[in-house]
């Protein structure tokens, strides 16, 4: 499934844009929530409770084929602040893994990053275990298939909280049953520019799915990027949930493609102008706030997709989205950056990538 047979992808495997429709669907994610029997959920757990959960999980991993480096362990407490945020920016961990009040990690919080698989598993987030697979393009069944295989490998060594009627028991009842949340991160400028998106999103809501902003729950919409995910997790099999979502996202893609055709038929010069202006700003700007970058990347991405900018690759745009975030920029600079320095550093990085077509920042998260 991944080109990286031996090494962890550290959340970057999807950047290659190798999946189907990857110009529109950046990534597909499937996550499974699991909890251990006999332990309070994380919201009521003491430091000792979380450590006990961590020990049980780490012990289980040692009994699987992932022992000896197949799943690389990162204890959040032991990670440098910047590396934790790099993981956050790559969606390997969520904000919930850091303490809400102090912003620091609680004892027992950790993430396993799997080698050779585009997958990771958080320990002691809202649920004891959050296993996630993140792949390029529209590949729900593949992402679910991988999540299922990893779950099958690990769960025989754990006493999981499971109820014959309610299925896998989770801290929030909105995740109970399968514990499965699948989502596609889609770029839908055609629907936005033709003002069709409200109608499409209403339709999505009517079939039991949710649309959110770029960074998921509670996040704002930026650059015409939307996350489409399942809302219910109980009463249907995982395959049915995933298949339904794949079908709906497939229809959204078709509607987006039609909208782009209309744009190019009725407003080709305006669209081309938008694309080239976005490219021009990215190519020459000396200061770029992240929000502006995302908005400009939206225009350029549309241009790449419509072959207005044929020399750029989707993978470069994916890299620009991830590597131009704060912690990644600071890692590249080797120091903390003020807001203005960050904007300048970002603009410099974007210019270099577009000028030279070079890739991302080398980063060793174990360092």
């Amino acid at each position: 499934m991944s080109d990286l047979q031996a090494n962890p992808d550290f959340g970057l495997g999807w950047l290659d844009g190798a999946g189907p429709y990857s110009d529109i669907v950046l990534s597909t994610r499937v996550r499974l929530a699991r909890n251990l029997q006999g332990h309070p959920y994380v919201c009521r757990a003491s430091d000792e409770d979380r450590k006990a959960v961590f020990d049980a999980v780490a012990g289980a991993i040692e009994k699987t084929s992932f022992a000896g480096g197949g799943a690389v362990l990162f204890r959040m407490e032991e990670m440098k602040h910047r590396n934790r945020h790099i993981f956050l920016e790559r969606r390997l961990v969520s904000r919930d893994l850091l303490d809400k009040e102090t912003g620091k990690p609680s004892p027992g919080t950790a993430v396993f990053v799997f080698s050779g698989n585009p997958a990771s598993m958080m320990v002691n987030e809202e649920d004891h275990l959050r296993l996630q697979c993140l792949v390029s393009g529209l590949r729900f069944m593949e992402a679910w298939g991988l999540a299922d295989r990893l779950d099958e490998e690990i769960s025989p060594y754990l006493f999981l909280a499971y109820h014959r009627e309610f299925g896998y028991l989770t801290s929030c009842p909105t995740n109970a049953g399968t514990g499965l949340r699948a989502s596609a991160l889609a770029h839908l400028p055609g629907l936005v520019l033709t003002k069709e998106f409200e109608k499409v999103f209403r339709g999505i809501a009517q079939v039991g799915l949710t649309v959110r902003g770029l960074h998921g729950e509670g996040s704002e919409v930026m650059g015409n990027f939307f996350q489409i995910s399942n809302q219910t997790t109980l009463g249907k099999s995982e395959e049915d949930l995933v298949d339904h979502l794949a079908q709906v996202v497939g229809m959204v893609i078709q509607t987006e493609l039609q909208a782009r055709q209309i744009l190019m038929r009725d407003a080709a010069s305006v669209t081309e102008d938008k694309v080239w202006r976005a490219y021009g700003l990215l190519r020459y700007a000396r200061s770029l706030p992240y929000r502006e970058l995302i908005n400009l990347l939206s225009g350029v991405r549309l241009g790449v997709s419509l072959k207005i900018l044929p020399s750029l690759r989707v993978s470069m745009l994916n890299e620009l989205m991830i590597f131009s975030q704060t912690a990644h920029l600071e890692e590249a600079a080797g120091k903390e950056l003020s807001k203005l320095e960050r904007h300048a550093q970002r603009a410099e990085y974007v210019r270099a990538v577009l000028r030279e077509g070079r890739g991302g920042i080398p980063f060793d998260p174990t360092g």
Partner: protein
């Protein structure tokens, strides 16, 4: 129904009536009085609508026997305290799960604990067969082969 035109029945009071007090005898409304807020309170009639917590004080006090989470805690945070909460608050949670998901019956993967009972094994095989049929129908033969292997592992040889 609240009638915005109705005025208070209180002596020499013309405030809008907000309290309707109906007396029911033998299933029939025999006597209805209409009061404004201040006249109703002067007669000792409470004009406060009980909040949902006040209405379900007893339910809110119920707590999980394992982790002491109460229904009130759950309502405040939206999170349960431990897996045992599902048993402690089972009837209410079943209703809630039905409301959220349209069902409370899990139809997905069946977990096999490290020490499975015969019933666990049977439920697991049934679920795998269901998924196998689906995979074959969808012509997903790779998945079908995987599921068939999982079934074979659980079924006695021969």
């Amino acid at each position: 129904m609240h009638d915005p035109e109705r005025v208070c029945d209180g002596p020499s009071c013309s405030n809008p009536a907000v309290v309707h007090l109906a007396q029911i005898e033998n299933g029939k409304v025999s006597n209805t009085k209409y009061w404004c807020k201040s006249c109703a309170e002067a007669k000792g009639i409470s004009t406060k609508t009980p909040s949902s917590f006040e209405r379900s004080d007893a339910a809110a006090e119920e707590s999980c026997t394992f982790c002491d989470t109460t229904m009130k805690d759950f309502k405040d945070t939206g999170l349960l305290g431990c897996p045992h909460c599902y048993t402690s608050f089972e009837p209410g949670l079943r209703r809630l799960l039905n409301r959220i998901h349209g069902s409370s019956q899990h139809l997905g993967k069946v977990y096999l604990p490290p020490d499975p009972s015969a019933r666990d094994l049977d439920a697991r095989v049934q679920a795998l067969r269901r998924r196998l049929r689906r995979a074959v129908d969808a012509e997903d033969f790779e998945r079908a082969a995987l599921l068939r292997d999982r079934i074979r592992e659980l079924e006695p040889a021969g």
